[in-house]
Structure formats: C-alpha cells, structure tokens
Amino acid sequence: MRYAAPTTTREAAALIAKAKGRAFVLAGGTDLLVRMKIGTIEPELVVDIKRIPATQSITKSATGFRIGAGVPTAAMGENNALKKAWPGVVEAANLIGSDQIQNRCTIVGNLCNASPAADSVPALIAAGAKAAIVGPRGRRTVAVDKIVTGPGTTSLKKGEFIEAITLPRPPPRSGDAYLRFIPRTEMDIAVVGAGVSLTLGPNGVVKKARVTLGAVAPTVVLVPAAARAITGTRLEDVALAKLAAACEAACNPIDDMRGTIEYRTEVAGVLARRAAKIAYQRAGGN
C-alpha cells in the first residue's frame, strides 16, 4: 500500500486518477481505517487530503458557508456563525461517534462513505448543501443529494474527490434541526434519522420546507410530500400528523439487527414531527 499526502488539489486528483489499484481519499479516517483494519478493503493507494490548505477551513461569505473537506466536525461545533445559521447541520455533525471521533471525522467522509445511516447527510440535504468536486477534468458543483447512489456507492468519477461542502446563507426566519434514534445515548448507528429545514412567512406560517429521512432506504430520502404537509401551516397537530404519515409512506427500510421495518417506519414519523417542531421554534415560530 502507498500513502501520499499532497499539498495541492491538483496533485491529489492526479495521484488518484493515475492509481493502478484501488485508491482512497483519507479525510478523518474514522471509516476508512476501520474498514482497512477489518480487511474489507485493501487499498493500493491512500491519499491524505488534510495537507491541502483549501480543505482545512470554514469560510463565511455573502452567499453562505464553505466547509473544507478536511475540517473535523468538532471545528464545526466551535464555529458560532455556522452554528447560528445552520444549527441542525452542526448538531447532526456533532452526533457522530464521540469527542474523539469528532476530532478527526468530516462531513465529506460521512457523505462519501455512503452509508444510508450517515448522520450529517439528512441535515445537509435538508439544508440544500452542495458539493464542490475536483477531478482530472476540472471542477463541478452538484447538490449533496446527487452524490450517494446506493449503500457504499457514489456518483464520483475516477480521480474525482470533494474539496468542500457549501451551504447557502439561510433566508431570514429560517431554522433547521436533525434528530436520530439510537438505542443508546451515543456511539451508535442511527436506526432512523430525520432532518427538517424550513423558512417561515412573516405570519409564522411555513413558507418553504425540506424534510429528509436517513436509515430508512438505500440512500437518504428527500420527502417532498412531507414538506408539502407542513407548508402553509403553523405545525398544527393535523399538519404534524400528515407530515408523519408522509414520512412513513416514504420509508423503504430493511429488517435488520438494528431495527425492524415496522419500527423504523413508525419512528421515522415520530422523529420528523419532533424535528419539525424544533426547526419551527428555531425559525422563530411558536
């Protein structure tokens, strides 16, 4: 196995593109190293991107935020502007693993590991996040929900990797939230996750919403029907019941040791309701 730690994006892309065997980008390594240790992957090349300056910072601009692909999620929790703008994204990123894990792990790694249960991804998709991709043929930007194509697979082409995630500047009277269910209090994999991002009109009525679910289908699902169920409402009980029903209908989970189909489906509705209420409050609704 070869290990490389290039200092520029171009160098990194060239290394990956030219690799003969399987090449992997190394961000925090909290997924990659575990898989190498248990032997499910045997990389020919590992490219550590943490020496590339462009991956190392969170920057705020007039259009929003840019989070470098090497930024550990702990740093997101320490960025007050980000926390204020996208509390749901930050809380999702800060649910990953434990303090030790968060000192290393990244949201891009979480995304590219392509687990249906990845915690930060439903929040990112609800927030309308985009991925800035670099590759041998240059750069492109795509919506985060277009990256994962199935468990363990992504739409990234050979030689491509993600340099940063961008989040828009939230409109006024917006709020987001992410909740997950795990049987324990930490160090666990989401049985169900629910992300909600919404913007209110001046009268406290939901003007625009995005609702996502994790761990209930092969990829994170965006549920437009759930968003419609609460749009134009003040999250009255009827609206929340419709939201839950729409979420349940969008579930296509598996039965496994982490949860039954029945359980996952029911809890998806419960969490979406609870997350919607938190997002609503954060947006200034009451």
């Binding site: 049987p183 324990r184 160090m187 029945e262 359980y263 029911e266």
Partner: protein, 758 residues
C-alpha cells in the same frame, strides 16, 4: 496447623478502610501487563480459521498450500490434538470446542490454526487452507431445539435425569428437579394465581480485554503459558491434560486481567497456542479479535421460562413452580440446573417445584457469566412476584417481605439457611429515600431481589517477611476486582502493621500449590481466609523468635499492635520487639520468617440483594432511560468498601445493559449477526445514572471476619428490577429481555390496540 474458621466478632483497625489499590498506578499509566503484553524472542503470530457455518460436516481440510507459504512455521487441525482424555467426555468437549473434530458445531468454531512469522503471513495462510464443508441442518433457538424433530447437535447426548434412561439422542442433555412440599395442594389453597412465560436472549460478559496468550513448548516437553485468565491453575491442569504434558512441567503465569466475569474460567484457544508452539518449536502468541471473542468464547444462555405462583389474600405464597429451559451451546452444561436451583432461593415456600432443562443448540459453548443462570430465573420469578403482588393488592416490597426466606428456612434447592440477608435488604429498600423519590409522566419504579450461592474451594497462600519488615503476600487467586488490596488489608490487620508495608503478588503455577479459579465470588473469601491463617502462622514464628531472643517461654509472648510483647510483670523489663526488629534479626535467629496456609474454604456464605430502579419510557419510540438505581446487598463484611461498592455497581451496570439492549442476534443461516461492540450494545457511560449502593453486613458464621462473596449477586436482580420499572412506566408487562426499543414499542402498541378492541 488447623485453624478455626468460625466468625469471631472482633474490633478492626484497618479492615473497612479504603486505601488505594496496589495495582492502580500501573493500570492508569499503562504499565500493567495484560494478556497480549508478554513477548518472547522469536515469537510467532498464531491465527485460527473458524467455521462460517452453524453446523457442518468437515469432509476434508487441505492445509498443503498454507504449509508451503514462506514464513509459515506450523499449521494444525484436530489431527494435532489427539484425544488423550481417556473417556472423560467433559474434557473431550473442551478439546472439541478448542478445535472441531469432524463437525463444525457453531458459527465461529475453530477448524484449523496457523503460526507464522507475522500477522500478514498468518492471514494469507488462513486463506490458503481449503475446508470442504457439507452443511447440516442447524438449530439456534432454545424452544426450537427441544422439539422432537429438531436437528441433533450432539449425537452422543442422551437425556440424563429421566427414567428409564433414553436410548435416542436428544438436545436435552439433562432434566433436573428441585423443591419440596405438594405444589398442587398449594395451588388449591391459593386465592390468586399468576402464570406467565418469559424469554431472555443470549448475552456476553463483554470484558474489554480479549483472550490472549503467549505459549512456548520446548522439544523436551516443558512449557510455559502467559495468559489472561481467571484461574491459571485450572488452565494449567486443562492444558496439560489435553496435550499430554506433565502438570509440573507446564508453568502458567496469569497476566493482569481486563475483565472475565466467568468467561475466562476455562480454556478456549490456549491448547491451540500450545499445540502450535509444540509443532513450530517457537513461542506463539494468539490474540483473539473481538469478532472471535463474541463468536467463539462462552456467552451465557438464552432462556425460556414458565412461572406459576399462587398466594392467599393475606399475601402468603402457597405454591410456586417454574420450568426453565436454558441453552448451553453446542456442548452439555449445567446452566438450566443452576437456574432451577436459584429461581426461588429468596423465598420461604411450603410448596415449591422447579424443573431445569439443559438444552444444546448450534451456538458457542456457554460459560459462566457472573452468578451464572440466576439473573434469567430471577427475571421470570421477580416479574411474576410483581404481578401477583398487584393481584393481592400489596406493595411489591411488602409482599416480598412477607414471603422472604430467613434463618431456618428450607431453601427451594435443598439446604436450610443460617443467618441470611434477604429480609434486611428488603427492609433497607422499604426505608430507602429512593422509594420516596417523585416519579413524573411516563416514569416507573421497579424492584427485585436476587440470590447467589457463592463458593469457597481450594486455596494456598504464602506470606514472607523481608529483612526490612515489609511483607510479600503471595496468592494464587487471580485478582479480578481488587482482591490484592483486600488481601493486603487482611494481612495488615493480622500482623498489626500498616497496609503500605504489604505487597501482594499473584504467583505463577510453579510457585504455589493449587488454587481454584477466581469464580463464585471466592477470591477475597477463600484467599482472605488463607491469608488470615498464613499471617497467624507467621505470628507464631515471630513470637518464637522473640521468646528465643528474650530467653523466655513462647507462651509468655503475645503479639499486639505489630510487635511481640512479653506477658506479665515478671518480664516487664524486656520491652517489646517490633516486626521490623524481629525481621532484621532473622538471619541470626533461624532464618527467614514466613507463614503458609492451604485450605479448602468451605462455608461460603450465601448472598442476597435487593435493587430499586426508576426509568422513563418514551411511549413513541420505546426508548428507556434509567433515572435512578439503588443496590442494597449483604456483604457479610466489607473488607475494602470501595471494591465492594465497585462490584455492586458493576453488576448492576451489566444487568441494566442485559435488560435493555444486549443480545446475540442470529440470522436464519445460524450465523451471529452482531459480533462487535457496535451492534452488541453494552451500556456506554452516558446510558447509566449514578448507581447508589448500600452495604449490609450480616456476618457469615463460617469465616473469621464474617466475609461473604460479593462479586456476583449484584447482576441477579437488574433484569427484573428494570423489567418491573419499564412495565410500570409503559403500563404493559414486558416478558422478553432485552427490552429493546422495538420490543417495548410493540408491547405498547399491542396494549393500545387491545384496549380499543377489548
């Protein structure tokens, strides 16, 4: 010298204090050497190939390609572990569990092993071994395994305990019955009867340190083994017998141990490591992965239990029965029998009958897990006791007090009790402030009792006094829970010197006589007894040396406050001689001063506990949060209260994990789905509240200080205490452990739909 083991009520100077443990600094700085921390020149890496099938015939194992791989020094199969057990089927079972003999009996069963110069080579070699399996039908569920048409796990097994002895093979290896009186007559007198069935899933002890050893056998047949174990003498005897070695020529050294809880009481891969070393003629290190620990060591039984209890309106139980089916893995075990013995041990019953079934399934060989078998029986019985108390209209604690066993009660498993602690623990629970803490919405409280026998057994201890008056206490019981601190306190108490002047070591098998394994909560009880007697032996010598120095009769010398003191005014001008002075003079007064004792410590005191638990259940997700937890237990005498409290808290923590989330999950293919700590969910810190403890001290009449074992009983009540609390919080009876969120949510939904239809 014969010593008196009976309890004498004495004033203590250091017993009951809380000095830091002697192994503490090493453990927090990383200096302590655990099972994987011993290295030998030229050592090889040993790895084991394991069956991917729940049950399969092994038609052929082709090791030729692995043997040819550069760097491979030995490859072994069961051919290299011939049967030397001479008709001892239990020993052959142990050997067969270490390495499959023609049939793989469970997912993870060892089928071959390699020793190579490094891990990479060893891993490659494993892949080069070709095993030709023919899959056979399997059974992993205890209730399925007792059905007449179930696949037979072990064709040699005939059900023991039935007349006439059966001729057909069965998965039921034994049926055993306990009790007394006439249960039918008792139920006829009852005003209320409750019958309920329960299931508990299989759990693992979950010790953090995996099994690990370094084995070295020379061409002359002498060998050494460095290993993480609860009992290195037992390991030595088992390994020597299985490999045809002389017991005296196999020296086993116990490392520091990162938890065992019963799982390190017998050998799993140590004979394999020795056999590899013998074949390779090099030392071989074998360290299990977590996956191997889960799949191929000894978890506790999954169970299925039916309970029936009847009581009069006044709250007296008139009759109680239980049928307990415990799976023992792919080999016979005693676990159902222990469940049947412990089920009703807390109660004073006129009419009681329990029947225990030991049932074979295609799962790993079950081993002891802290008070083995008692928690599941207690879950079933204590849940039913709560249901019955509600029918009678009594508070659960009052109902239990009314029926509690006491001195003179004939226990359901046979003996008549001496002084015991169940009544006092229940009274302490009734008066505990926890019982008055306010409960909010979706919150519930539960309590439960538990019993464990405790064990004494063989012990051999040395006490050597150095020239500076410091003392080496040499014991053969592995220190799992702080026993070196407790034993040092005992030596300090007897000798009358400060705790800091004692250094307690766990010796290897060539340095002391046989010591039984640290199990059955016996470490401090039995080695404590031997330490008292060894110290008293040494005091005899000290008095003799003083008498010799003073030229007076030894009868005129007493030992007091760490010094020899002449008795009577006649000798008042002689002054005193301290232990230090006597030690310094010892080269000229007869040589080193030592004490020694070997004992079969009979009379372990039975132990009882009562626990209280408060929980909150989320009615929409089925998630449980433990809010408060209190343990009340009789310790007999708490030598070092910190480590007693540690045991009480640890048992409760493990029990809470078992109650709520831990379980072995098998797929339809008979393979374990969750062999790792990610999906086998032991509690993390933030899952647990502070666990409060209250130690009671009802002396054990058969120990000089009144000590009872304390290590195990604390895991017995939690399944039921949590179960009763959850059932009260969710307003529906939970009968299946673990009470995981999906199970609780399902029970709540069933209750709701029954309420609307009913």
């Amino acid at each position: 010298m014969a010593h008196d083991t009976s309890f004498t009520n004495q004033e203590f100077k250091v017993i009951g204090t809380r000095p830091p443990r002697p192994d503490g600094v090493d453990k927090v700085t990383g200096r302590a050497a655990y099972g994987a921390d011993t290295f030998a020149p030229g050592q090889l890496v040993g790895l084991i190939l394991r069956s991917p099938h729940a049950h399969a015939q092994i038609r052929k194992i082709d090791t030729s390609r692995a043997e040819k791989l550069k760097g491979v020094k030995a490859v072994i199969t069961s051919d290299d572990l011939p049967d030397l057990t001479n008709g001892d089927r239990a020993m052959l079972d142990i050997l067969e569990n270490c390495m499959a003999r023609g049939r793989a009996l469970y997912d993870g069963h060892a089928v071959a092993a390699v020793a190579a110069i490094d891990a990479e080579t060893a891993r490659k070699a494993l892949k080069l071994i070709k095993v030709d399996y023919k899959r056979l039908p399997h059974v992993t569920d205890v209730d399925e395994a007792v059905k007449p048409d179930a696949p037979i796990v072990q064709p040699y097994v005939r059900t023991a305990g039935v007349q006439p002895p059966p001729t057909k093979a069965s998965n039921i290896s034994q049926i055993s019955e306990f009790g007394h009186g006439d249960v039918e007559a008792g139920f006829a007198q009852a005003d209320f009867i409750v019958e309920e069935s329960y299931k508990t899933e299989q759990t693992h002890q979950g010790y953090i340190e995996p099994h690990a050893c370094l084995a070295s056998v020379g061409p002359d047949g002498q060998g050494e083994l460095w290993v993480t174990t609860q009992g290195h003498f037992t390991f030595r005897n088992q390994c020597a017998a299985l490999l045809g070695m002389d017991v005296a020529k196999l020296k086993v050294t116990a490392s520091e141990i990162g938890g065992g809880f019963g799982g390190k009481t017998h050998v799993w891969m140590e004979p394999v490591a020795l056999a590899l070393s013998r074949k390779a003629n090099r030392p071989v290190k074998v360290v299990m992965s977590r996956d191997e620990v889960f799949r191929a060591t000894g978890p506790t039984s999954s169970t299925s239990v039916d309970v029936k209890i009847g009581a009069k309106k006044n709250g007296r139980i008139t009759a109680a029965t239980a049928t307990l089916r415990y799976q023992t893995g792919a080999f016979p075990g005693i676990w159902g029998m222990l469940g049947a013995m412990t089920a009703y041990a807390c109660y004073d019953l006129k009419n009681v009958k329990t029947v225990g079934y030991n049932v074979l399934v295609n799962r790993p060989k079950v081993a002891a897990y802290r008070a083995p078998s008692a928690p599941m029986a207690a879950f079933a019985v204590e849940s039913t006791i709560d249901l019955l108390a509600a029918k009678v209209g009594m508070e659960p604690v009052d109902f239990r007090i009314k029926n509690a066993a006491k001195k003179g009660t004939k226990a359901s498993y046979g003996p008549t009790y001496g002084p015991i602690g169940i009544g006092p623990t229940l009274e302490a629970v009734k008066n505990h402030p926890h019982m008055r803490a306010r409960l909010g919405k979706n919150q519930g409280r539960g309590m439960a009792c538990g019993f464990w026998f405790n064990f004494g057994g063989q012990t051999c201890t040395d006490l050597n006094i150095g020239v500076d008056g410091t003392v080496n206490l040499t014991v053969g019981t592995v220190d799992v829970g702080g026993s070196r601190a407790s034993l040092s306190l005992i030596a300090a108490e007897e000798l009358g010197i400060p705790y800091e002047r004692i250094k307690c070591n766990v010796a290897d098998t060539s340095s002391l006589g046989h010591n039984d394994t640290t199990e059955g909560s016996r470490g401090t009880f039995s080695s404590g007894m031997a330490t008292i007697f060894a110290a008293r032996d040494a005091i005899e010598v000290l008095r003799e040396r003083a008498a010799q120095t003073w030229e007076i009769d030894v009868k005129d010398v007493k030992w007091e406050g760490g010094r020899a003191v002449p008795k009577g005014v006649r000798h008042s001008n002689l002054g005193t001689l301290t232990l230090e002075e006597l030690a310094a003079a010892s080269p000229n007064t007869g040589g080193p001063i030592a004490g020694h004792n070997e004992v079969v410590a009979d009379g372990a005191g039975v132990s009882f506990a009562s626990h209280i638990c408060d929980v909150e259940v989320d009615p929409e997700t089925g998630a449980t949060k433990v809010l408060r937890y209190t343990v009340v237990q009789d310790a007999g005498k708490a030598i070092h209260p910190d480590y007693v409290e540690g045991q009480l808290q640890g048992g409760a923590a493990q029990g809470i994990g078992w109650a709520l989330n831990e379980e072995y999950i098998y797929g339809k293919d008979g393979r374990l789905q969750n062999p790792g700590f990610l999906d086998y969910r032991i509690p993390v810190c933030s899952d647990l509240p502070f666990i409060d403890t209250e130690i009671l001290e009802i002396p054990n009449p058969n120990h000089p200080y009144g000590v009872r074992g304390v290590g195990e009983t604390s895991i017995v009540p939690p399944l039921a205490a949590v179960g009763n609390a959850v059932s009260n919080a969710a307003n529906v009876r939970l009968t299946h452990v673990p009470m995981s969120p999906p199970r609780i949510l399902k029970a709540i939904k069933n209750r709701r739909s029954n309420a609307t239809t009913g």
